[in-house]
């Protein structure tokens, strides 16, 4: 049965789908300053976040580079990509203030059932920063 292509999805927003199909900052980072590895106990998704930290002119610590690796659904991959975009270049202080709702808003919304994916991204970021601070 062949039909004309219609790419709209009632499940995900166009922004989510665009991010999912063309994610930013994915892959493993060599010699990261901090790593946050987190598994989702709800559905089984797994997210790894890698950060490189540097200092800006004001001598504040900033997230100079960030990469992710995710084994998960459309929401998990798009929230991973979005969080890297949102915190790249930001100070660690600013990054720590990022909430799951900021990610959801930037993606134009997520299905309620998938909110936990954005929690996963925030948790992974916090873990990566924590890991950096330990070093």
């Amino acid at each position: 049965m062949a039909k004309k292509l219609n790419t709209c999805s009632s499940l995900y927003t166009p922004k989510v789908m665009a991010t999912f199909k063309n994610p930013h900052n994915f892959g493993r980072m060599k010699n990261p300053d901090g790593v946050g590895k987190i598994g989702n106990p709800v559905c089984g998704d797994v997210m790894h976040l890698y950060i490189k930290v540097a200092k800006n002119k004001k001598r504040e610590e900033i997230i100079k580079n960030i990469k992710f690796e995710t084994f998960g659904c459309v929401a998990a991959i798009s929230t991973s990509s979005m969080i890297t975009d949102l915190v790249k270049g930001k100070t660690i202080k600013e990054a720590m203030r990022l909430k799951k709702d900021d990610i959801i808003k930037s993606l134009g919304g997520l299905p309620k059932l998938k909110y936990h994916c954005s929690v996963l991204a925030v948790d992974a970021l916090h873990k990566a920063i924590e890991d950096y601070r330990k070093k």
């Binding site: 062949a2 999805s9 559905c43 089984g44 797994v46 790894h48 084994f71 459309v74």
Partner: protein, 389 residues
């Protein structure tokens, strides 16, 4: 780009021949089968003709066929109706056997019966999703009412040894119900030869309309009714009869019967080509039985990738399939069928079901074979697993 539908196990388009047969029953022959006048009798005749067609499909008598709204309703009616009837007849029976890979409507009906004091045994399956009939024989107790086993899995396509199970149930004098939603019209079914007491089939899986199903009930078996009212369908299933859908269901069954052998061979050939080529992808596996499976079903799993992502990437390429991944379910749990075959949750995570049908062409299969490796490669690039450290 043309869209390619490879999710025929979920639902099928209505065959134009079926739609044509249904059309007069919408606005012209619209009567209520319970009416005495000619409008009603015209509808009643169409209903009874349809019943005869369905009886002939499975070697039953017309009075043994009850039309319902869906396979879900039929399965609910079979399990609850029989369980409640056998308990009310004070035979002291309270035990039901099902398999661990039943459709949700059987699982949930059994769960509900459990809440009403019935005992439920779930028979496990092997790694191919196959039930061992000996396990059923061993599971039957004096208080067992019913054994209900799905003919072929809607997810992994494994076809169960239904005749053998039917024989055991007959010997042990317990009722045997089977849900044939995925095999009806695809594989020959004979309720006498297979010793089937109750059987569920569905219209929308065989190019008929949604909203029609049937329950075969062997003559002499009494069920407690779930819908009370005007007494349609021999008093078992009150509701104004959905004549257009039932006429369509019967027409779709007739077409399937006529084309069954040829279509089965055609689909098996296409499916085998698909399986052979997809398994060339590294770290890919086939779920379900390699031989005893539905002619139109292929179910794969790919390590290190997640099924919902896979389905959505394929959808972006215009190809519609489905997955048993936790992410795609409303409960966020992986497919109970895949878990029952012994897979770990993370393995079930990467499953992809491809189901072929009447309008599937070799060109469409070739297109899937062409785009799938690259999609999996890209998703694996994003995944933390399956790479060298």
């Amino acid at each position: 780009m043309k869209k390619i539908y490879l999710d025929y196990a979920a639902t099928t388009p209505v065959d134009p021949r079926v739609a044509k047969a249904m059309l007069p029953f919408l606005s012209q022959k619209f009567g209520n089968t319970m009416s005495l006048h000619s409008f009603g009798q015209e509808a009643k005749l169409a209903l009874e003709d349809s019943r005869q067609v369905m009886a002939d499909m499975i070697n039953a008598k017309p009075n043994e066929i009850v039309f319902t709204s869906s396979a879900t309703e039929s399965n609910n009616q079979a399990l609850k109706g029989l369980a409640l009837s056998e308990r009310s007849e004070s035979k002291g029976k309270n035990h039901i056997i099902i398999s661990s890979i039943e459709h949700h409507c059987v699982l949930e009906s059994a769960e509900w019966l459990k809440s009403q004091g019935f005992k439920i045994t779930k028979i496990p399956v092997d790694k191919y999703g196959m039930v061992n009939p000996k396990d059923i024989g061993k599971g039957i107790r004096p208080e067992t009412i019913l054994v209900s086993i799905i003919h072929a899995s809607n997810e992994i396509g494994t076809i169960q040894p239904i005749a053998e199970i039917g024989k055991i149930c007959k010997q042990k004098k317990v009722y045997f119900h089977t849900d044939v939603s995925q095999t009806f019209g695809k594989i020959l079914i004979d309720v006498k030869k297979m010793n089937i007491d109750l059987l569920t089939a569905s219209s929308h899986k065989i190019y008929g309309p949604k909203g029609a199903g049937l329950l075969y009930i062997r003559e002499g078996i009494r069920l407690v009714s779930l819908l009370h009212g005007g007494g349609q369908e021999n008093g078992l299933r009150s509701s104004t009869v959905n004549v257009p859908a039932i006429v369509g269901f019967a027409k779709s069954a007739e077409i399937c019967k006529k084309e069954m052998l040829k279509e089965g061979k055609r689909l098996t050939k296409l499916r085998n080509k698909l399986i052979k080529n997809v398994l060339k992808i590294k770290n890919s596996h086939l779920n379900g039985d390699p031989i005893k499976r539905l002619p139109n079903n292929a179910n794969f799993r790919f390590d290190f990738v997640e099924g919902e992502s896979l389905v959505m990437r394929l959808d972006a390429e215009g190809i519609a399939c489905s997955t048993g991944s936790a992410c795609s379910s409303m409960t966020l749990e992986p497919s109970h069928v895949l878990l029952a075959t012994g897979l770990r949750p993370e393995q079930a995570h990467g499953s992809l079901r491809v189901s072929l049908g009447r309008w599937t062409t070799e060109k469409e299969i070739d297109q899937l074979i062409k785009v799938l490796p690259e999609i999996i490669r890209q998703l694996r690039q994003i995944s933390p697993y399956g790479k060298k450290a």
